[in-house]
Amino acid sequence: MKKYSFLMIFGVIFIAILIIYSPVRQLARAHVNYETAVKDHPLSCTSCHLYNQNDGFITKFINEDYYSPFNLVVSKDSKKVYVIAQDADLLMILDTENNRVLNKIKVGEHPHSVILSKNEQFAYVSNQWEDSVSVIDLKLSKELFKLKTGNGPAELSLSPDGNFLYVVNTFSSDLSVIDLTKKIEVKRLITGSNPTGIAIEPNGKNLLVSARRANIDNYGELISSDITLIDINKQSVIKKINVKSAYMLENIAYTPSGDFAITTLIRPKNNIPSIQVEQGWMMNHGIGIIDQKGEGNVVQFLIDEPNSFYSDPFDIVITPDGKKAFVSSSGVDVISVISIDSVRAIISKASPELLKKYSNNLGISSKYVVKRIKTGANPKGLALSADGKKLFIAEQLQDRILVINTATYEIINSIDLQGPKKITVARRGRILFNNASHTFQNQYACYTCHPDTHEDGLIYNMGGAGMGRNLTNTMTLRDISETGPYKWTGTNHSIYKQDGIRFSTFLTRTEAFSHSDLDALVAYIRTGIKNPPNLIYNPTGEHTDSQLRGKAIFERSKNNFGTLIPKNNRCVTCHPAPYFTNLKLADVSTLGTSDDSTLFDTPHLINIDASPPYLHDGRAKTLEEIWTVYGTDEKHGVVNDLSKIELNELVDYLKSIRAPKYNKDDSKNSQLTHYKSK
């Protein structure tokens, strides 16, 4: 027996020595050091190998299904709130008196917004990943039917007579006009790029649609975005209001008198080196006042303060008395309250030149921002009660609706959506992603340059190498877990490295993310960011004839004259399925005079149509230009033998490439099944 005890003790000691000094541990250390590019990251296998799992049995246990309230609307009597639970594809109906969830109605994929009919009998919900609007009978608590829309429906509005529904299509950059009596879309009006917000003039004559992406221009040009003015009677576009130096006009609202419309906006300084973040010069957040009188000029005011920024303004609502505007500063978990009278006073006194200067002035927000109300994580959609006394806030990452007294700014209620109590690692990562607290003076969050976890379409002067050097076209973060290396230069082989210490040195200019925060952020990026379906170009997985011909060109080994195309110059060599990247660096003859000598990472091609401009420095404004303007030397694939018809077919095929998950099993995919049934 003693003998066994001795052996046991010896064995335990041996194992302990093995654990402490074993080469396995050293190997693990080397592995973690390599992946994270630092030497002190805790040696925890689970932080990577458990929480970064995309699918599999174990992920069901470690992840939770949250509701993530995104937009909301309040009944006239304030007794009910209708909330879009974006992650759960639900319209939730809440009882504000008893703080409970009355009903959950299943809607389409990835809903965005909800509005009510005048008599509050119907709710209209835009299903952004399904290109439809769900029409819900609120008495029956049931979806009656779906209306077909353009691509990526977002905000909605009803015509004053209730006969027409206006749907802002974010992905196709237009506005669907739906005749509700006939239940069909009658026309689409072109808007600014990637629009979301809509507002109807109080007199019912016009409506405004705000765009998020800036108009594509050459690097160095000041950016500008469009607000589209539409005549409701004629149902035609009458004006494009150009908002200079600004983008991300997420939402827009009219004052009750109709003298102003106010939009939220961001003023990026993408043309100067990103190192300027320390000067408060990277991202500014504010509002744009569209003066309805005269020429309809847009006056911009910042809601930031000299040493504190209020990033990612999302929604805006204006009280019925026209005195206050509430803006959800979603990146800092704050509602900024703006005195509209103060804004009016400044505008009336200042010369146009002075107003222009104000648009960059961090010092004057104290004159009109009268209160900052702290909220839960990531406040998004806002709604006011009919009397304007209560403000309802959708706290997206808190799974909660907050109710504020608009006079005292006190929290008077908070309605829990009864989501999971546990905050998973990926959820924490998502909160970090959307929060600006990790950037110098809260100047921006990851979300700011990657709205909707995608990309903002701008070209940045990254790092400190000097003005106009090493320009970088922002890349999407959707479905990137398998597409490393990262950065256009491919210098970061892992997301850990990409978002680690160098990230803070070049971008956030603060302390780097803590190890546990970095783990969470990486877990979110690797597991929580999905591509929307490609409903315009490839809704069902079946290619059109034109796309099939384009595919043959993409995969061809001989040109039209029968000459063999060298293997490394065939499209499919560097862009193989499933992500359409070979994960390698290449020279496709795009090195510019402003670039340091380097090869470039081969980007993936999923939903490529949603990511203009193209190439590492965004020089190609369209896919065609990659070859017609910048690829004529045939270093980026052989296309000079193609006819214009064939080039169109190639482009058609490229646009049809969609995320691999949609190709796995079409029949099980609800939005595709829905699309097919239509």
């Binding site: 004259f561 017609t628 004529t632 000079n640 214009k644 080039l647």
Partner: protein, 436 residues
């Protein structure tokens, strides 16, 4: 049927036909030097309407426009295949011929002391550049331009020239349909494939008495339109073409097509294509043991053809819009100057470009700096009718198409020899044209 009813019916039919033709247009003469018996449908039916009898007049505005002040140069455009095309060598010759004419004009003082400046444009750019190049020339404010060789390019450019109202002198495109567009803004200074078709057709069917002819043609528009007129007269002469095989530009193996031709045992083979493919085809024909006489289109008249075909070129006959051996002092002088300037012997494209540019410069000198007035002189069918160029006598028809001299070229002892086409005498027409 009773005879008188039949008679009545015949007479009635004739009567009706006559009445219907009463409002048809009277035909004064056949267009394009076409012999009566070879004119379409002429042996069966008079056409209701004959086009190209009288030249279209340009009645638009613009003659009153005064020339701009403070000009430093007089710009003339050039449009030709200079890069990225199978016929770049022809384009370069055309450019050089043009340059020589411009340089000589500038030595003589240019336009009232202002130098002529050639604005050079490549027509073979990617993604359909020709029309855009003409628009660019308009933006550059050229007074007229010269171009091109490729038939598609020339058509596209002509349409743009019509819209923009820029005089266009074409010295390289033999497509008959080019001038048949009836656009009163262009002049062609090279014989077309209608004239070539008649000449080679007359030679093949009348002089050489072949009956069964096979055709190998370029699959592009050059081949399709080029042999069109030849097919027409072959049919009307009673020897319709029994077999046509096609090949692509850049193709090197023609075995399949030639096997099909071989099976039909033709008496002769006509090849309509660029010099390179034509030479390769001839080599393969001979290597297959076929000994039939071979005829070609005029693009083979080049050094490149002789080099590739080597001894197999011997005896090959084609048409040629140019005779480098013509006894013409002007031509001799041009050949010397051209060689001095470019260290190269001129070909048909440089020679016609030289003639075309000389005509254009003269029209500018006469018309002044006004596009419509330049056009008026170019196209009045008087100023330049019977123009004695280095390429011979140039005669224009009502579509401003060059129906002047044309030659037959035959390879003898590894060199082309040229004879003014006279095979037409058997056909009963004057393809050499200059005397009518």
């Amino acid at each position: 049927m009773k005879p008188y009813i039949l008679n009545l019916a015949i007479i009635l039919c004739m009567l009706l036909l006559s009445v219907s033709n009463l409002i048809a247009q009277n035909k004064s003469k056949m267009y394009g030097n076409t012999p009566d018996r070879l004119f379409p449908y002429n042996n069966f039916e008079k056409a209701y309407k004959y086009h190209f009898i009288d030249p279209i007049q340009f009645s638009g505005a613009g003659r009153e426009k005064l020339p701009p002040k403070d000009l430093k140069e007089v710009r003339i455009g050039f449009l030709g295949p200079l890069e990225g095309s199978a016929i770049v060598s022809l384009g370069k010759q055309m450019l050089q011929g043009t340059m020589l004419a411009i340089e000589e004009a500038n030595k003589k003082g240019g336009y009232k002391g202002l130098p002529y400046k050639l604005m050079v444009h490549n027509d073979a750019g990617l993604w359909g550049a020709a029309a855009n190049e003409v628009v660019k020339m308009d933006d550059e404010k050229v007074w007229a331009f010269l171009g091109s060789i490729d038939d598609i390019v020339s058509h596209v450019a002509l349409r743009a020239a019509l819209k923009l109202e820029i005089p266009m002198v074409c010295t390289g495109n033999p497509d008959p349909t080019y001038t048949e567009t009836n656009i009163p803004w262009t002049l062609r200074v090279i014989s077309d494939d209608r004239q070539s078709g008649y000449a080679i057709g007359a030679y093949i069917f009348e002089k050489m008495k072949h009956k069964r002819v096979a055709v190998m043609r370029n699959s592009g528009r050059y081949g399709r339109v080029g042999v069109g007129e030849f097919y027409g007269i072959a049919k009307r002469m009673g020897h319709p073409i029994r077999i046509e095989e096609r090949f692509d530009t850049g193709e090197t193996d023609f075995k399949m097509q030639l096997e099909s031709i071989k099976q039909l045992t033709p008496e002769a083979i006509l090849i309509w294509g660029n010099a390179k493919e034509s030479a390769l085809i001839i080599k393969q024909i001979r290597s297959m043991g076929l000994k039939q006489p071979i005829y070609c289109s005029d693009r083979i008249v080049s050094k490149e053809f002789l080099e590739i075909a080597g001894p197999f070129a011997e005896g090959i006959v084609s048409t040629s819009p140019y005779n480098p051996e013509a006894n013409n002092p002007k031509l001799k002088e041009f050949q010397i100057n051209y060689f001095k300037r470019f260290k190269q012997q001129p070909d048909a494209f440089s020679a016609h470009a030289y003639d075309g540019m000389k005509i254009l410069i003269e029209a500018i000198n006469k018309g002044g700096l006004n596009r419509v007035l330049i056009r008026d002189y170019l196209l009045d069918l008087k100023t330049f009718q019977n123009y004695q160029g280095i390429t011979g006598k140039i005669v224009f028809d009502a579509t401003w198409n060059d129906i002047g001299d044309i030659w037959l070229a035959k390879v003898k002892n590894g060199k082309f020899t040229f004879i003014l086409n006279d095979a037409n005498e058997n056909v009963g027409t004057k393809i050499k044209g200059a005397k009518n």
